[in-house]
């Protein structure tokens, strides 16, 4: 995982901790919010280990269920996503190991490391149709960002590219934190509306 992926995570502790505490107090909807927040990241992470999409979803589901059942043991010593990602990676690796123990489908026996490398290389292979949809979606997102007013685009890119906190962005843009928050939301909302047809098409296909 590269640095640019990790930087935005630095500020996510407080919200997550609040949600985790609510789950620990018995609020199941708080866990729903955590699932919705991290499901794409977890699916993407597991997708690096496992190629088959249905298996990826199974492992992601298992990971979240494990997290839910053991959430009372989460003490907040690390960030929630770090804890969750560890569960997801271990679940994915266990899944690969369990697959390797099944009767072999080919004559060649592979050890776990080879199985892991094979799946890792296969996971980079997407179908041409999926690649095409992904490229179209990416172009639509960049186009929508270019169409944004300057202050919205700056706020969004400072947040997404540089991983700055709302407070840091407010200092750079010389405006209140509430304004930063509003600008980032409005920027996302505008881009989301622009790409919604692509997202809906992706679901139906």
């Amino acid at each position: 995982m590269t640095l640019k992926h990790e930087v935005p995570m630095q500020h996510e502790t407080s919200s997550d901790q609040t949600l985790v505490e609510k789950v620990q107090q018995g609020d199941k909807r708080a866990f729903d919010v955590l699932v919705m927040k991290y499901q794409y990241k977890v699916v993407g992470l597991i997708g690096r280990y496992i190629q088959d999409r249905s298996e990826v979803l199974d492992v992601a589901q298992e990971s979240f269920i494990k997290a839910y059942r053991s959430i009372n043991s989460f003490r907040g010593e690390s960030a929630f996503y770090t804890w969750l990602y560890r569960i997801a990676v271990n679940t994915a690796k266990n899944h690969l190991v369990s697959r390797s123990r099944r009767p072999p489908e080919s004559d060649v026996e592979l050890d776990n490391e080879e199985v892991f490398n094979t799946y890792e290389s296969l996971s980079d292979i997407a179908s041409p149709e999926a690649k095409l949809n992904s490229n179209r979606l990416e172009k639509a997102i960049y186009h929508a960002i270019e169409m944004l007013p300057e202050e919205l685009r700056s706020a969004l890119t400072l947040r997404e590219f540089d991983g700055l906190s709302y407070e840091d962005i407010s200092l750079i843009m010389e405006c209140p934190v509430g304004t930063v928050r509003s600008r980032i939301f409005r920027a996302r909302e505008a881009v989301e509306k622009h790409i919604r047809p692509f997202l809906d098409a992706g679901e139906s296909s």
């Binding site: 500020h11 949600l19 269920i65 979606l137």
Partner: protein, 199 residues
């Protein structure tokens, strides 16, 4: 999963802040009052934007609340909605504790009985040859009836029948080893597999 099917811009702004980890208590309270489907749909767009800007190799789209529903179904099917209790509680309710206590007690009892047999049985065998005294001796004064421990030197000097020689050799070696059976000598004794018997 519930609540309001409509969503306000304020709630979506709270969602955006939560997505960035900048949500306040009020934001989270507002989010928990929203419909999960609406939140999931909006978050899908937020994730797509983020993944695109972060140059993720594959854009994961189309999940919305499918995964969430699967998780709910699984938990409902297994009838285990609540998170499992803390580890300390799990340890406290382990039902095997009585069994382990019983096993430990029976083991100690067995070891004690074996030690008893080794100590007193060995002494009995050792003294059995010496007590060739006539039965009438039993009615003699108390001093004469008490079993007398025969010193090794006397044992060596005694003339024994040939058919009893082998047994006496064994008993003699046992008497030498018997010094280990007192007090703390019991533990090293346990390591002795058998006595070296001279043929």
């Amino acid at each position: 999963m519930t609540s309001q099917n409509t969503h306000t811009p304020e709630a979506m702004a709270s969602l955006s802040a939560m997505f960035d980890g900048e949500a306040t208590e009020q934001d989270i309270a507002a989010l928990l009052a929203q419909d999960s489907g609406v939140l999931a749909r909006q978050l899908e767009g937020f994730h797509a934007i983020q993944q695109c800007l972060h140059k993720d190799e594959q854009l994961a789209v189309g999940l919305q609340d499918n995964l969430l529903m699967r998780i709910h179904d699984t938990l409902d099917t297994e009838g285990e909605i609540e998170p499992s209790p803390k580890l300390t509680t799990q340890v406290a309710v382990l039902p095997q504790s009585n069994v382990s206590w019983k096993m430990m007690f029976s083991g100690v009892a067995m070891a004690a009985s074996v030690a008893f047999m080794v100590v007193f049985g060995g002494n009995f065998l050792l003294n059995s040859e010496v007590s060739h005294t006539p039965i009438t001796a039993d009615v003699s004064p108390v001093k004469a009836t008490l079993p007398v421990a025969t010193p090794l030197a006397e044992l060596n000097q005694q003339a024994l029948p040939l058919d009893n020689m082998k047994l006496q050799q064994y008993l003699r070696q046992h008497a030498e080893q018997a010094t280990m059976t007192v007090g703390q000598g019991m533990i090293p004794m346990a390591r002795v597999v058998n006595y070296p018997v001279q043929e």
